[in-house]
Each structure stands twice: as structure tokens, then as C-alpha cells.
């Protein structure tokens, strides 16, 4: 493949990566209201357990578990928000640096065969600095994506835990008869929320997988274009 084709391909890949990072950012932001709803659910669980009076001992234990689950979800979501901010910034830097790389390449082409007073090494230094920054940003982005993957992986476990808790809550609510009506609403809300969390985390994992694939492809081409020179 010629240099120009690699260049074009890389430009497209940087744009793709940036777009994918923005999509992932949007998806991850959808988790924030879920975390809030989990907290609201915890409060509902507390009042439902209180309403059940002396019949609500099992509900109180379940309420504690729901609160712990809510904390776990919040912590996980909070951490992902921090990392995704860095990811979008790095992807945007990469696209910007690649534009600089293209401009230096254009300059080098203009200078080819020309008699210049300026020594060739002057702009080669600039070109080199851009390449180094590209490489450093690439590494940082790969690392941040790996961190994000690690942060997202416990969500599957949280979802399983939530589903289990929802089943337990339903069973306890049914066996408590009239006293359990209010807690049944909590259980059904919990089922709904973990269902949403499961769906969203699956979508995010799929986006992250696409992003990692795009990064791998881009790094392969980058290796050929930037370092083969």
C-alpha cells in the first residue's frame, strides 16, 4: 500500500475512533440517571420495610443488600465517567495531531527538490515531535480503554446480583402477603433497573469492543506509516 493510501486510511481511522469514543461517552452518560434511580430505590426499600413492621425483618436484610448494590453501581459509574472524559480528550488530540502530521507531510513534499536556506532538519524536528506525540497519545488511549474495560466488567456481576436480589425480594414479598405489597413494587423496580443496566452495559461492551478493534487496526497502520520512514 502506498504512503498516501496509508495516510488516507489513517485519517479515516482517527475519525472513526473519535466518533466511537463520542458514542461510548454518550452511552456511558446514560448510566448516570440509573445510578440515581438505584439510590431512590434504596430509599423506597427502606420505607417499604418499615411499613411491613414486625413482618419486615427479611425486607430489612434485602434493603441493606439493595443499598450495597446501589453503592456498587454508583462507584462503578462514577469511575467510568472519569475515564471516558480522558478517552474523548485523547481521541480528539489524536485527530488534531494527525492533521498536524498531514500538514508537515505537505510541507516536506513542497520542500522536495527545492533549494532552501532553512536546513531540512528544522522541520523534520517538528514532524518528529508530532509523531512522538501521536505515539504517546496512542499509548495513553490504549491504556485508558483497558482501564475502562476493567471498570465495565464488574457490571455484569452487579446485574446478576441485582437479578438474584429481585427474585429474593419477590419471593419474600409474596410470602409476607398483605405486608409485602409495597416491597413487591420495590422488587419489580429493581428488576426493571438491573434489566436496563444489563442492556446498556452490553451495548457499551460492544462499543468498546469495536473501539478496541479500530485502535488495533489504526496502530497497525500507524506502525507502517509513522515508523517505517
Amino acid at each position: 500500500m502506498s504512503g498516501n493510501l496509508y495516510t488516507r486510511k489513517m485519517g479515516e481511522e482517527y475519525n472513526t475512533i473519535f466518533r466511537q469514543c463520542v458514542s461510548l461517552n454518550t452511552e456511558l452518560h446514560k448510566l448516570v440517571p440509573l445510578a440515581k434511580q438505584m439510590h431512590l430505590l434504596s430509599s423506597n426499600a427502606v420505607s417499604s420495610a418499615a411499613r411491613a413492621g414486625s413482618e419486615g425483618d427479611a425486607f430489612r436484610v434485602l434493603t441493606q443488600d439493595i443499598q450495597l448494590l446501589g453503592d456498587e453501581v454508583s462507584e462503578c459509574i462514577g469511575d467510568t465517567q472519569k475515564v471516558i472524559g480522558d478517552i474523548v480528550r485523547l481521541a480528539s488530540n489524536l485527530a488534531k495531531l494527525f492533521a498536524s502530521y498531514m500538514i508537515y507531510q505537505d510541507l516536506q513534499e513542497r520542500l522536495e527538490g527545492e533549494e532552501t536556506v532553512t536546513t531540512v532538519t528544522f522541520f523534520e524536528g517538528g514532524h518528529h515531535n508530532v509523531v512522538e506525540e501521536l505515539r504517546a497519545n496512542n499509548h495513553k488511549l490504549s491504556r485508558s480503554l483497558a482501564v475502562l474495560e476493567n471498570l465495565l466488567s464488574p457490571i455484569a456481576t452487579v446485574v446478576k446480583k441485582g437479578e438474584y436480589l429481585a427474585v429474593c425480594s419477590s419471593v419474600e414479598a409474596a410470602s409476607a402477603g398483605q405486608h409485602g405489597v409495597s416491597f413487591e413494587a420495590v422488587s419489580s423496580m429493581l428488576r426493571k433497573l438491573v434489566g436496563q443496566l444489563g442492556l446498556q452495559s452490553a451495548r457499551q461492551r460492544s462499543l468498546l469492543r469495536d473501539l478496541s478493534d479500530a485502535m488495533e487496526k489504526q496502530q497497525h497502520n500507524q506502525g507502517k506509516l509513522l515508523y517505517a520512514r
Binding site: 492533521a99 500538514i103 533549494e115 532552501t116
Partner: protein
């Protein structure tokens, strides 16, 4: 792109570059100036990202750009200074003089504070290879923080956007050849982009204090000799901030 030497005496010189025939239609044509003194260089309004490679390649033919120690930005506009990160990537020690009020805006281009030398509202002096250049306030002409540069040796006054003209593509002269005809290309620009008649009067008074042989704008043609005074009189009588009355 045309490159011409405006002045040369011993180790002191001025060079201009303009009329980029290759530029995209929607990109405004810009003039770029390189002052050299004792082997050191200062670039005035080096231009946008869009024409960095053209400007760098052309000036490379005439000067060792590694010896450009500083860049002067008359104001914050992208056609003036958005190429800055590329120049700094080539020379990380480059100094950038700019109006103080624009520092926190121009840093959005990714420039670090260690490269920046803010110039206060009242102007100051830039020393290049032992030679002093005067920085003259040109605020509100057009930008609210705007500076001009006067070189007492060459008697060249770099006026930034003042004196700018939006010339047709077939107008390739670097100098004004027929002042009366030239005003048609300047009038709208000054009335639309420049808001303050008070600022205009103060700037004109500053220019008249100096012995100016050439008035060099960032767009359009250069005024030489008697055309400098002609321009000042024409500008003096122009009502700035008045080209939008039809949309009121």
C-alpha cells in the same frame, strides 16, 4: 505565493509574502512578514493552519527558519495565528508576543505559557538581535486587543488589519498602485470589521508621530511613500462601525 524583500540594509531586512494563488476560495488571502536582524528572525502574523506549509516552504527558501526566535501576533484571529502550534512543534523554544488580553484565548490553540510573552495594552518594545521594534496599540482596530509594530530603521509600520483590502484574485500587485481605485476594496472591510472612531483617531495620531515610509497590512496591498499619508486621511474620514445599517 509572492515573496518580496521590502527593505535591506546590512544585516537588517523585511520580507513580505502574499497573494497565495493556491489557497481555497473561501480562505481569505493573508500577508506574512519576516523581519531579520543580525541573523535572528521575527515572523509577524504567520497565518493560519490552512497555509502553514506554504508560508514555511516559501520563507525557507530565503531564511534559516531555525533562527526565527519569535512570532508576533497582532491579535487572536485564526488567519493570524492558528498555525502557532505547528511553528512551536518545529521550534519548542519559540517566543510568542501577543496582546495580553488574548493570552488565555490563544492558549486554546495548545500553546504553553512558557512560550508566551504578553504585551500590555500600552504596547512596548520587542528586541530582535539587538534592534528595538516599537509595539503600538491598535485596540479595536479591529480586535479589542490589537497591536501594530513600527521599525524605526526601515520606517516600516506593520498595521495588522488596518489598511486591509479584500482584493480580487487577479489583483497580484503587492503595492498599492492607484490609491483612489484601491479604496473600493478597503471601505467595506474597515466600516464592517472596525467598531471605534475614537480608537481610530488615537491610532492615526500614533502613526503620524512616526516617520513611516511603508504601511503594511495583513490583507491586501502595501502603502508606500505618499500613499501612507493618503491612507491616513482616507481612514480619518471613514465612519467605522457603520456597515451594518441595512440589517438594523
Amino acid at each position: 505565493m509572492r515573496v518580496e524583500q521590502l527593505y535591506k540594509k546590512n544585516t537588517h531586512s523585511w520580507m513580505v509574502m502574499g497573494r497565495d494563488a493556491e489557497r481555497r476560495d473561501e480562505v481569505i488571502d493573508t500577508n506574512h512578514y519576516l523581519i531579520q536582524n543580525n541573523g535572528r528572525g521575527l515572523l509577524l502574523d504567520p497565518g493560519g493552519v490552512e497555509n502553514f506549509s506554504v508560508v514555511a516552504a516559501e520563507f525557507s527558501k530565503h531564511f534559516e527558519l531555525a533562527n526565527v526566535e519569535a512570532i508576533f501576533a497582532s491579535h487572536q484571529d485564526p488567519d493570524v495565528i492558528s498555525s502557532l502550534p505547528l511553528w512551536i512543534q518545529a521550534n519548542p523554544d519559540l517566543i510568542v508576543y501577543m496582546p495580553k488580553i488574548w493570552v488565555s484565548f490563544i492558549t486554546h490553540f495548545g500553546v504553553k505559557m512558557e512560550n508566551i510573552r504578553p504585551i500590555p495594552d500600552e504596547g512596548g518594545i520587542i528586541t530582535l538581535g539587538g534592534h528595538d521594534l516599537e509595539v503600538v496599540p491598535a485596540h479595536y482596530l479591529h480586535s479589542s486587543g490589537n497591536l501594530s509594530v513600527y521599525d524605526p530603521q526601515s520606517k516600516i509600520f506593520f498595521s495588522g488589519d488596518v489598511g486591509a483590502a479584500l482584493l480580487p484574485d487577479d489583483h497580484t500587485d503587492l503595492f498599492v498602485t492607484d490609491f483612489d481605485s484601491h479604496t473600493q476594496y478597503m471601505e467595506y472591510f474597515h466600516r464592517r470589521w472596525m467598531p471605534s472612531n475614537t480608537a481610530k483617531a488615537r491610532w492615526i495620531a500614533e502613526v503620524r508621530k512616526r516617520d513611516v515610509e511603508m504601511l503594511c497590512p495583513q490583507h491586501g496591498a502595501i502603502f508606500k511613500g505618499e500613499d501612507v499619508a493618503r491612507f491616513l486621511s482616507w481612514f480619518e474620514n471613514l465612519d467605522l462601525g457603520s456597515a451594518w445599517s441595512s440589517v438594523r
